[in-house]
């Protein structure tokens, strides 16, 4: 076995996992507190990527663009909450799904109108565009290390926010008892809008971080949203800890599956058959994992407490 390659792929898996966590944490935050299913979360991820891409060309610096794009994405999230999502809260989950499905069409087509049908590739500053040799042969792009650092930083920030701040206390209280929070004299509407904007910023951040690797494109939201759903189902909807652990597991399984499944299959079947079967199986692996976990624990790994 090639341990250097394994190491590189594990790093890639962790990086994918942390990106997934950024998207999934917003999704699970919004669901846990607002009881709202937001399919359009992936479109916000896309919008974040596009805003950042445009700003990178305008400001000439990716990191600067990212810092400006973050609050702008939060604003987009706030507007979505204010004009559409808020009106859907009191309806049932089916209406959430259909309403936000409509929102996807609106947002994706708007992106098409504004930025055109082609994807936009985002240039990195020179110092980020290089590679780092961790040990002999194990070369990792510097930017991927930045993604990992950012992901871990945001995760730590979320833990701090939810557990040690007044806003976090309100969020935790609001999740278990809305009437109580209202009774405390807190404007629950503003709290909800804040949570929604925060979730949007995290999704947007993930989109901004991935865009230099893939490019900002119209379809990117629809792909990530399903994987993010798998993450929060496996982790337990509403659980931040569950989202983190599930995101890392799924990031690793997906990356390692794509990289090594064919060699694994070659041990038991012909090279030809392995080459056909491996991509199909690795594409399904995270869903098979989800099925197994749900068959054993229908509420995911870390089910939220009963309301």
């Amino acid at each position: 076995m090639d341990y250097t390659l394994l190491f590189v792929q594990v790093i890639n898996g962790v990086q994918l996992g942390l990106l997934l966590f950024l998207v999934a944490s917003g999704l699970t935050l919004v669901f846990g507190i607002l009881d709202f299913v937001n399919l359009a979360h992936g479109s916000i991820y896309m919008i974040g990527a596009f805003i950042c891409a445009s700003l990178t060309f305008y400001l000439g610096n990716f990191l600067l663009a990212l810092l400006v794009a973050l609050p702008l994405t939060g604003l987009v999230g706030y507007a979505i909450e204010r004009f559409v999502a808020r009106k859907l809260y009191e309806k049932d989950h089916l209406d959430h799904v259909l309403g936000t499905f409509g929102l996807i069409l609106v947002l994706d087509t708007s992106a098409h109108l504004i930025w055109g049908p082609e994807g936009i590739s985002v240039p990195l500053p020179l110092w980020l565009d290089g590679q780092v040799e961790i040990f002999e042969g194990a070369v990792i792009p510097t930017f991927r290390l930045l993604i990992i650092a950012t992901g871990l930083g945001v995760a730590a920030g979320l833990v701090w926010l939810v557990n040690y701040t007044r806003l976090g206390m309100l969020i935790r209280a609001g999740a278990s008892n809305r009437t109580m929070v209202s009774a405390l004299g807190i404007d629950i509407k503003t709290l909800f809008a804040l949570v929604f904007a925060l979730g949007s910023m995290m999704a947007g951040l993930a989109g901004m971080l991935i865009s230099p690797i893939t490019e900002a494109s119209i379809g990117m939201g629809g792909e990530i949203i399903i994987t993010a759903f798998v993450v929060i189902i496996v982790g337990g909807i509403g659980s931040m800890k569950g989202a983190f652990i599930a995101a890392i597991i799924i990031g690793l399984i997906d990356t390692l599956g794509r990289a090594f499944l064919d060699s694994l299959f070659e041990l038991v079947m012909s090279e030809n058959a392995a080459e056909t079967a491996a991509p199909a199986v690795s594409a399904m692996m995270i869903y098979i994992l989800m099925a197994i976990i749900l068959a054993l624990r229908p509420q995911g790994l870390f089910p939220p407490k009963v309301r």
């Binding site: 669901f31 299913v37 399919l39 559409v84 009106k87 859907l88 309806k91 989950h93 089916l94 209406d95 799904v97 259909l98 309403g99 499905f101 409509g102 929102l103 996807i104 069409l105 609106v106 994706d108 087509t109 708007s110 098409h112 109108l113 629809g222 399903i226 759903f229 798998v230 929060i232 189902i233 909807i237 056909t276 991509p279 199909a280 690795s282 594409a283 399904m284 869903y287 098979i288 989800m290 099925a291 749900l294 068959a295 229908p298 509420q299 995911g300």
Partner: protein, 321 residues
């Protein structure tokens, strides 16, 4: 007969007469539109069985349509290009058996797992299983993967020639009528009463002694199998199949058809699929950005129209409070 019954009959009569007349007067385009509408209508009717009457919000039903279509495409591919002699065939009856059988099997396996969950978990897990099928066919390079698969020869059925647009439409129309009849009988049977009861209140049904899981699972399997049959028709209609037919947005569209027309009514899914396809056709002829008004419309329907179009009819007819 009540208002709703009359509207249902009228709607089905229009579908029986107008498209063939248009075809005979040389308007083949409208026949194409009607065929697509009727086939997707079968999918919507089968989704309505579990979504409208059973309260199971399945977000992965496009997968069954895709499975049904590949049940035509794969045997036909091997019959034309060799390999896998076992399945190679143009026999339409075999294709139907494969489409219905594999859809039912996929529904049984995914349903058995999904139905252990409730509410939003169920929505998401059915969606994820649908995507699983999508990625599976996407990565199968032998059948075109991303690029899809062209069906060179349509299914061969006794008495019916599917190469004739009129006969294909006829088969699709009759299938739709049969599907509607079957669903109507099922939801009013003792089984259907239990199914509707589980939609209303699962805990109550358990307290009465019903093991609701098995009733829901059977409904899910029947619905999946019917959708697979619609896929068989769709494959023969488009003669081109691709994983895109199974993408989760297709499942969302199918759900939208049911809700737009009016869930848990007989004609609702057909009205929904008709309106959906007509709107798609009209809007996309004006602008390539037609998804924008379409999405806005969807949001407005969810926010303001309770019970879909059939709900509006009901209010006009004053047949219920």
């Amino acid at each position: 007969m009540n208002t709703i019954g009359k509207i249902t009959i009228a709607g089905m009569l229009i579908l029986a007469i107008v498209p063939p007349v248009l075809l005979l007067s040389g308007q083949a385009f409208y026949m194409d539109l009607a065929t697509r509408l009727v086939i997707l209508g079968i999918g919507a009717v089968s989704l309505n069985l579990i979504l409208g009457f059973g309260g199971m919000v399945s977000f992965g039903h496009a997968a069954f349509i895709g499975l049904g279509a590949y049940a035509v495409g794969i045997p036909a591919y091997h019959a034309t290009y060799g390999e896998f002699e076992m399945v190679a065939s143009y026999n339409g009856l075999l294709h139907i058996a494969l489409a219905v059988g594999f859809s039912a099997l996929f529904a049984l396996i995914t349903g058995a797992i999904s139905l252990r969950t409730k509410g939003v978990y169920f929505i998401m897990i059915t969606m994820a299983f649908g995507q699983m099928a999508y990625y599976f066919f996407l990565s199968l390079d032998i059948y075109g993967g991303d690029d899809g698969l062209t069906i060179d020869v349509r299914s061969e059925l006794p008495l019916i020639n599917l190469d004739s647009p009129m006969q294909l439409y006829g088969l699709s129309y009759v299938s739709l009528a049969v599907a509607m009849y079957l669903v109507h009988r099922m939801v009013n049977s003792r089984f259907g009463m239990v199914l509707q009861g589980t939609k209303g209140n699962v805990e109550r049904m358990a307290t009465l002694g019903y093991n609701t899981y098995y009733y829901q699972l059977l409904a899910y399997v029947i619905s999946g199998a019917m959708c697979g049959y619609a896929g068989f028709l769709l494959g023969n209609f488009t003669t081109f199949i691709s994983p895109d037919m199974m993408h989760w947005t297709r499942s969302g569209e199918l759900m939208f058809m049911v809700i737009l027309g009016g869930a848990s009514t007989a004609l609702g899914p057909i009205l929904g699929s008709s309106l959906f396809i007509l709107l798609e056709e009209i809007l996309s002829s004006f602008t390539i950005y037609w998804h924008l008004p379409f999405g806005l419309l969807l949001i407005l329907v969810v926010l303001f129209i309770r019970g879909g179009i059939m709900g509006l009819f009901k209010n006009m007819g004053g047949s219920s409070k």
